[in-house]
């Protein structure tokens, strides 16, 4: 039997946070009440090897929580997650060897150069330093980074360039499951295209499976084989982009977009959903 790249079964995750203060009684300082926020509600999904799977949803819908769970950075309150058959709680090191993640915030030692940051990553993943050095140069050049920037501190680089180094770091370890957590958010159109092209290439050349979270409808439409639309921690639809678009009727003769699908399924637009999450 062929093992799926990722299996998520009945996963629920909630966070407890300090909420509003209670009523003041006499001179006593009012205590802040604790509130539970459900980030994911009984999520089930299976991603097959070689797929580019998109998770589309507004900010605060639970996309990054899902990625953090798969990355072993969070533990589920209920349910199980398996990466190529390895449970993230029981066998985290095996899972970590198979994955890498590119997130929206390019987390680097900002005073280090790209080479120093990538060498740190290479050693953490047990790569041969000599081979890693050659590979990181090749990937960075392929991503359009100039050689003179390789040894300068990353704090002097633009956000787009930093994100490209993050992408290079993600690919350096040849993960078989690549987690892209809004990798193009905040990038200029040119950098966005470079990153998207490389994501497509890595899938073709390295037989990698990609889990991509985004709130960019066009990006999801162009890159993904299947898409799960997530709202308030629930998957409300899961299918190929083309089939998802058949879920809502066309308006004024135009083909529905993924945004129309989201509005049709939730009764509100993306921006409205994001505003609600912020208010909550």
């Amino acid at each position: 039997m062929r093992t799926s790249a990722l299996e998520v079964e009945g996963v629920r995750k909630l966070f407890v946070r300090k909420g509003r203060t209670g009523p003041r009684r006499g001179l006593r300082k009012p205590k802040r009440k604790k509130e539970s926020v459900v980030a994911l509600r009984d999520i089930d999904l299976t991603i097959e090897r070689g797929e580019v799977f998109g998770v589309l949803g507004p900010n605060g819908s639970g996309k990054s929580t899902l990625i953090r769970l798969v990355s072993t950075l969070l533990l589920p309150d209920r349910g199980a997650i398996r990466v190529f058959g390895h449970d993230i709680e029981r066998d985290p090191i095996a899972v970590k060897r198979m994955i890498n993640r590119v997130s929206v915030d390019a987390a680097f030692f900002k005073k280090f150069s790209p080479i120093e940051n990538l060498m740190y990553a290479a050693r953490l993943y047990g790569l041969d330093p000599k081979e890693a050095r050659a590979k990181m140069r090749e990937i960075m050049k392929r991503l359009g980074l100039k050689e003179e920037t390789f040894n300068s501190p990353m704090e002097h680089m633009s956000r787009g360039m930093q994100q490209k180094v993050a992408v290079a770091r993600g690919f350096l370890t040849s993960p078989i499951l690549l987690l892209l957590d809004e990798p193009t958010t905040g990038l200029d159109p040119h950098s966005k295209r470079d990153v998207q092209a490389f994501a497509r290439e890595i899938r073709q050349t390295h037989d990698a499976t990609v889990l991509l979270t985004t709130h960019d409808m066009d990006e999801a439409d162009r890159l993904c084989d299947r898409i799960a639309i997530i709202d308030e921690g629930r998957i409300i639809a899961l299918d190929t982009p083309e089939r998802l678009k058949t879920l809502v009727p066309s308006q004024n003769g135009d083909r529905p977009t993924l945004e129309d699908v989201f509005i049709g399924l939730t009764g509100r637009g993306f921006e409205e959903a994001e505003a609600e999450e912020v208010a909550a």
């Binding site: 969070l74 680097f108 740190y120 990553a121």
Partner: protein
């Protein structure tokens, strides 16, 4: 590739990263070196001025060496303690904690790398301070048992690695205040361990706490080696005791760290930066 090679590469990642941090933050390094140096000098000058302060005849040479030994040992032990206890705090400051915790490196390997760096860095810094301080005071170590002193220092390092691991859980538990809490732990160790005075000068209840601090034994043993020339053979029981305490504290530290890491992953505390 064997697991051993992979783990060693993982451990070296932390050594190399910390060396790079020193290179990139060299300005801070100079500031801290000057701070540590002036601290050691100021404390040692108290010994130099004891006769003038008390108006009595005092063996100044002995007092100066007594204080200087305390200052240098504390310098070394605190570097080990802070290098390990701040391994999480650094990741939070730089925003890299999630990346490091996502890497396929076991926590013991992470700690081995951090410890190797801490010991090397502690030795280099302490020797640099000793070299400069030696220009200010006449140090007579002709009767000292230097081999015993090194043995004592290495045995004491083991305990401080364990204490560092225990303190490292604080920034994991408390993203905003954890790093400051480790300062409080170091300050308490400094107060009770007889770094600059015999622990007999402390109130009885503090003396009882001092007996639980590994630093108390390291400092007593090192003073015995450097000031009295205590032979290595008679130090061995204390060396074994220190190694035993150290291994026990490391084991407890690793268990607590593992538990707290799981708690941090359950509660989502890895994400938040201080």
């Amino acid at each position: 590739m064997s697991t051993f090679v992979r783990e060693m590469r993982g451990a070296y990642a932390f050594v190399e990263r910390n060396i790079n941090l020193i290179k990139r933050y060299w300005g801070w390094e100079i500031v801290w070196l000057i701070y540590s140096l002036t601290n050691a000098l100021a404390i040692t000058y108290i010994g130099n001025g004891m006769g003038a302060i008390s108006g009595q005849e005092i063996d100044t040479q002995y007092v100066v060496t007594y204080l200087l030994v305390g200052a240098l040992i504390w310098q070394y032990l605190s570097v080990i303690f802070y290098s390990i206890s701040e391994m999480i705090a650094w990741e939070r400051w730089e925003g890299t904690i999630e990346y490091t915790f996502m890497a396929p490196v076991s926590r013991p390997t992470h700690l081995v790398g951090t410890t190797l760096f801490a010991i090397g860095y502690g030795i280099v810094r302490t020797l640099a301070i000793l070299a400069i301080v030696a220009a200010f005071f006449r140090l007579d170590l002709s009767g000292a048992n230097l081999v015993g002193a090194v043995l004592m220092l290495l045995a004491g390092s083991v305990s401080f690695v364990g204490l560092g691991i225990l303190a490292a859980v604080l920034p994991l538990l408390y993203p905003e205040r954890g790093a400051q809490m480790t300062n409080a732990v170091a300050a308490i160790l400094l107060l009770i361990s007889g770094v600059y005075y015999p622990i007999e000068t402390l109130p009885g209840w503090l003396q009882r706490i001092a007996a639980a601090s590994p630093a108390t034994y390291v400092i007593q043993g090192l003073r015995a080696c450097l000031l009295e020339g205590e032979p290595t053979r008679s130090l061995l029981p204390m060396v074994f005791l220190l190694i035993g305490i150290g291994l026990l504290v490391i084991a407890i530290g690793l268990v607590i760290f593992r538990y707290v890491e799981r708690y941090a992953k359950r509660s989502g505390r890895l994400k938040r930066s201080g």
